[in-house]
Amino acid sequence: MTEILIISHSKDIAEGTRALISQMAKDTVIQASGGMDGGIGTSVDQINDMLDQVQEDTICFYDIGSSKMNLEMAVEMYDGNHTLHISEAPIVEGSFLAAVENSVGTETTQILEKLQEMKK
């Protein structure tokens, strides 16, 4: 089953989004990470650490600009066996939709289509 990965500039946004989602999508694996040095920021490392744990194809969400760059870079460097999708959907609402759809068994391609209708 598809997994969800969340990278935010803020640890709080990452944690809060995970909590919000997991309430409704208990069987979906969600990894979330954010922040830098106790403040706002992201790093490729955090993403790499999450990618190391990935066990299935994964949809990845980011919040603003530079986390996207880090995410793209980490995905480019990834040499594992799973397909990684970077979604441009809003981090909270997009990952929520994806996780819930995923937990009710919606196909990944269909989830990705739904996410594409969102715009941030």
Partner: protein, 192 residues
């Protein structure tokens, strides 16, 4: 320039960014989120602490990996990945010509990762012109590099956080362009 010499330069950038922290943060406060000074300082403190030596390509690669992990802003992946990519073309003993090659790779990496071109008021405006500068003037003098950064002052930002400031981004040197001055100056020092 061998690995030892390069390491010395990379370690030396720690004190440069310690000193320039408030300058860079001041610029980023005008047209960004005000963390570029802290970011660069954190990045090169980590380099000072963690990069401990090897051949020139090895030092570049370690520096890149460390910057990627520790800077924490948009400049992290841009500088970090650029150093990693430069390590692919760097010789064990970097001469002026090899440095030009490295600077071209630096510019190409930022262009492709940042999806940026010249005139968008970013670090790219300094990086992309530095190989040319080295070729033409035979050196990477601080004044000449600073003049490149200065050119970003009147530009309107269209990439990164500064883009949100639109016309109001005019009148401030791009923070990344300014930090690029110090990095490239360090790479070029003693190569005249």
């Amino acid at each position: 320039m061998n690995g030892d010499k390069l390491l010395e330069k990379m370690h030396g950038l720690k004190s440069v960014f310690d000193e320039k922290e408030s300058e860079l943060t001041g610029l980023d406060r005008e047209i960004g989120d005000g963390d570029h000074g802290v970011n660069m300082k954190r990045g090169f403190s980590a380099v000072h602490e963690k990069v401990s030596g090897g051949t020139a390509p090895e030092v570049l690669k370690q520096t890149g990996m460390t910057l990627m992990s520790s800077i924490g802003g948009a400049s992290g992946p841009l500088y970090g990945f650029s150093f990693v990519k430069m390590s692919d073309v760097a010789k064990e003993d970097i001469d002026k010509e090899n440095l030009m090659e490295m600077l071209d790779v630096f510019a190409d990496t930022v262009a492709s990762k940042g999806k940026v071109e010249g005139g968008e008021k970013t670090m790219y405006d300094v990086i992309s012109k530095s190989a040319e500068l080295l070729k033409e003037s035979g050196a990477l003098k601080l004044d000449d590099l600073q003049a490149l950064a200065q050119e970003t002052e009147d530009m309107i930002a269209t990439k990164g956080r500064a883009a949100y400031f639109k016309e109001q981004s005019k009148g401030t040197i791009d923070p990344g362009a300014q930090s690029a001055v110090y990095i490239i100056h360090a790479l070029g020092e003693g190569m005249e």
